[in-house]
């Protein structure tokens, strides 16, 4: 690019812009300026998906009346109980709510390192 004249450079930019425009034209909706649309596309997920995912999570907490704080303390207590029997990787302990069709499930994902007995005998 550095060997090109400013005029050539400008022309290239124009063509790149035009091609970009063409490639997005088919999917671009009305009412959004091309600049805004291009900027929005850079974001990993669409605003719609963000809203849906955040809302689903909020509603699960609302519907079960389980606040994130409550889940946290439940997580801590669960960890204590489970640690009595098995050695677990505490950093990976994940406790969350998941929507399964009509029911809401409490899902715990815990990495077990080994059982306590094995750990004691070794």
């Amino acid at each position: 690019m550095s060997t090109q004249s400013p005029q050539q450079n400008k022309l290239v930019q124009w063509w790149v812009g035009l091609l970009n425009k063409l490639s997005t034209l088919a999917v671009q909706p009305a009412g959004i300026s091309p600049e805004v649309a291009a900027a929005e596309q850079d974001a990993a997920a669409s605003a719609k998906e963000d809203a849906k995912n955040r809302l689903k999570l909020v509603l699960m907490h609302d519907r079960t009346k389980l606040s994130p704080g409550l889940l946290e303390s439940m997580r801590d207590e669960l960890m204590q109980v489970i640690s009595k029997y098995v050695e677990i990787d505490q950093t990976t302990l994940d406790l969350c709510l998941e929507q399964e069709s009509n029911t809401i499930a409490l899902v715990a994902n815990i990495s077990v390192v080994r059982s306590k007995e094995v750990a004691a005998s070794s």
Partner: protein, 275 residues
Amino acid sequence: MTAKAQGRVIVVTSGKGGVGKTTSTANIGAGLARMGYKVVLIDTDIGLRNLDILMGLENRIVYNIVDVVEERCKLAQALVKDKRMPNLCLLPAAQTRDKSALTPEQMKDVVGELQKEHDFILIDSPAGIEQGFQNAVAAASEAIVVATPEMSSVRDADRIIGMLEAKEEITNYKLILNRVRPDMMKANDMMDVDDVLEILSVKLLGIIPEDQSIIISTNRGEPVVMREGDKVPKATMAYRNIASRIAGEDVPFLDLDTPIPWVERVKNLFKFGAA
């Protein structure tokens, strides 16, 4: 009591404020009246009444619902008749009192009386889930939940739906999705109709597009559903369809898609290319 069947009692509610409860009540009521039904609208937002403004009846209020339950007037005296439609009237809320001026039992009495003379009793609920909402719901057997496709509105609608489900008297409830913006939905910038229906697992009563004519109608005190002629706004059609569906007709949902003309697309293309 006449031999006539009792009127249907429908509460319009949302949880969140400002999503279009009162606008929907006014338009559905006027829409049903336009079809020839005898309709009464009840404003239960005591202290913050607004249904009178939307109906353009604010200057004709003499008595209100609190006057009726406190026996300062007869029920018929408090009803404000709409001059445009003789089969439509409004029972206004009191503006200088608060929600505690009315109890659910009193609501049931008033509505029971109105049911004898009207085909539809539409109750405009205040925002929130406190006593005002409880009053509004007390006498209803059907509910319309109004929401916009925004997170906060959908969250509050979910809460309201939970409360409606817990009430045995409410036999059926449906959703009106208001302020729908097809352009933003198509761009994935906003939740679409299916997203909201899926999240709330609720049946759809109607879709109202975001429409400037609603603001103009409010300013004039004439519900948008009352516009007549060949070229009425989309919101007019949307509310007419909702009224028909409530009356039991099978009306397809409006297609709000307005594709951008190719001329505009080409213009946009050159604007960008030349920049």
